[in-house]
Symmetry: C2
Subunit: 421 residues, 2 copies
């Protein structure tokens, strides 16, 4: 049935054909059109820059880092993060946890409720091996009872973090004043160990977000002191964990202020920093740099700043009207929920090297497999030209790809990495 | 490293762990929580109903059917469509073509431009085998020259369809009056055979869309008569192909009106009918039923109508405030670009069977891995309950899943199918 030899099919790296060994040095040249397009590539140097940046930030901020792995769902990138010193990986679902565990990640926060019979079975089986430090969030009496019964019956200790939420937000217990209702239920189950408190401040928006987040974090600190004094926490390390990719500086700072009355381990969970973007997370990081002296100092050092490391390369398919360019990249290839991609480079196959895309070129519409770009009517573009795009919102770009090429500065693919969505 | 046995990991069917043999009779029971959630399932009976419906419609409308395979990118579903009598499969990219070809589909329309060195190589290699009937669209002189040189040098005949477009739309030659410019370039290459004309009317919107589409199709008919009289088409069968999922009835009807002056093969390319939805394509199909006597007659027969066959099942994670339900389904699991999913069934594990979801339950927000549903404050819902959702826009739901379960009416997964995005 296969008429394309395995060797040749392999370098359709991006869509539909599965992935090879991720560690192969492929040597394919993007500019020589060695691969099929559209294709997603990550600049290795920028990736490592970003890993180092957030690791250094966290160390100086005296917080541990458990980056949210749901952004990339790429075990190779999880390993890169661990090699740079991350405490562990945060994840959003049980299949994501299994993928990470099976790839050697042994410190995992399920930054979510653990719900459902099959999921209980899987986590119980992983915990029974004994090499796995696992935490999940609990925010309801119903879930506490289900987990408590299941894990107590199995005689397995499940580490739980009490999730505290925001009114009008997502998950999380709403009223700190009555959280002892939940704690008392939990205390009835020997299978449940309260190891700390968790939260996600990223659902707070609006003009007054900064102050609201600071107050939210301060209230959590107060709550934790109270829970500590009431001996809600199991003996051993107590974890307080929060922070997405937009407000991690504020969370890190205010978890340390005011002075702690008891010892705990602060863990932040940003996920988007490793890939970064030129959209919503670039904006968020600019705000971090405005707020945080620590981030400002880092930006002045050789590490510099977070940089967008991911590009989508796609062909010009057609220029059916002057100034209207149809590009072979669509909703199947790139995030479109937080602004459309930005043209960054233009390359005409056969020429020496890419040039910067004209800043007047602008994506104006996107369909499943195409997008429309407007340009000046005299733009020097032709069908068959390649354009690279930076993106906004890495989580919803990376999940479009099963394989992503890691490139050097000469656009040579040095490795392929796999994703597990 | 693997601590979950292969057997047990297999029934995380939906995310992150790859797929098993698609033809296995799994027997997993959705209601018994045998699998991980969120999960995507397709009702087999409704799937077959939809396949039959569009096949019957096409046969009565005297058009051939080459459904757009990009919607599902599932070879098992391509085979189902071929078994029901489809002429072939349409696809949007070269990797999609390779996937279909490698799974036995030998009549393929690349409903797009064929662009790029690597893609030329792949198509040339497939064509050299000799068992492959392949067509691609051409809409520019630049592309015609590139294809012409490449395929003439290789001494391979490439079947091309002249793509005619809509002003302000997507690809396609804009001015029928000067299309001979393109045809004359093509005629210089012995490697290029003009086998017909193609179009996509789905970019026409607005209040007057019906009339504009009718005129567009009529103009294409006129153009084809002219091209025929000028002997632009290669000898043999001439194809005129158009129609997405919203206007296929109008296209089918007007390709046959007025009477043909020469023989051609009309082929329509709807893709969404097989899965259908309860959103934009349900609305489009209601319009078809209003317009088309043929569709109205079919709806009165046992075949009935197209029915939404795909559901996403997800857990209630948390009800942190009365009337606010957090569900474990997000942008990673379901389309959100054409309306949010609709709750259809509610099932509390351990009870006899699902009941219809309250019509007052409504998704109001969706994030990467969660969504927010509002309900009356006294809704009988609890964490751990399962909700099934129907969707809007199958193309952007199916591409979130590598494995989809085919279920019977008792919610037993009879097979798994794989997708190749």
């Amino acid at each position: 049935m296969l008429t394309i030899s395995t060797h040749k099919a392999e370098n359709i790296i991006e869509k539909g054909t599965g992935c090879m060994d991720a560690l192969v040095n492929t040597g394919w040249n993007v500019l020589a059109e060695d691969i099929s397009f559209p294709a997603a590539v990550i600049n290795q140097k920028l990736l490592v820059n970003n890993a180092q940046w957030m690791q250094t930030f966290s160390e100086r901020a005296k917080v541990k880092l458990a980056p949210h792995g749901k952004t990339t769902m790429s075990p190779e990138l999880f390993k890169l993060q661990i090699q740079h010193g991350c405490w562990g990986i945060s994840l959003a679902t049980v299949p994501q946890v299994v993928t990470a565990y099976n790839n050697g990640i042994k410190h995992i926060i399920l930054a979510n409720q653990l719900i459902g019979r099959r999921h209980f079975d899987i986590i119980a089986e992983l915990l029974s091996v004994g090499d796995f430090e696992f935490y999940c969030f609990v925010d309801s009496i119903e879930n506490a009872k289900s987990l408590g019964k299941y894990f107590s019956d199995k005689n397995i200790k499940l580490n739980i973090l009490l999730e505290v939420g925001v009114v009008g937000g997502r998950c999380g217990w709403r009223d700190n004043d009555n959280i002892m209702q939940l704690c008392e239920v939990i205390s009835q189950y020997q299978g449940l160990q309260v190891r700390g408190v968790s939260f996600y401040e990223g659902v707070i928006h609006g003009e007054n977000a900064t102050n609201e987040i600071i107050n939210f974090v301060k209230n959590i600190k107060t709550l934790c002191q109270s829970l500590h004094s009431k001996e809600v926490f199991s003996s051993g390390e107590v974890i307080i964990t929060g922070a997405g990719s937009a407000w991690y500086d504020l969370v890190a700072e205010h978890l340390h202020e005011p002075d702690n009355l008891f010892e705990f381990t602060p863990i932040i969970r940003p996920g988007c920093y490793l890939i970064h973007d030129t959209g919503i997370y670039q904006d968020a990081q600019q705000a971090v740099l405005t707020r945080s002296e620590l981030a400002q100092n880092l930006a002045l050092e050789p590490t510099g700043e977070l940089l967008s490391s991911l590009s989508i390369w796609a062909y010009v398919y057609s220029i059916p009207e002057p100034g209207l360019v149809i590009v072979g990249m669509g909703k199947r290839d790139v995030a479109f929920d937080a602004g459309l991609p930005t043209p960054t480079l233009h390359y005409r196959p056969g020429t020496a090297k890419p040039v910067s895309a004209d800043k007047q070129w602008q994506l104006v519409n996107i369909m499943d497999q195409h997008c429309m770009m407007t340009t000046p009517t005299d733009a020097d573009l032709a069908p068959g030209d390649l354009i690279s795009f930076s993106t906004s919102h890495p989580c919803l770009t990376i999940d479009k790809w099963r394989c992503i090429g890691l490139i050097d500065d000469d656009f040579i693919i040095k490795k392929q990495i796999s994703t597990y969505f």
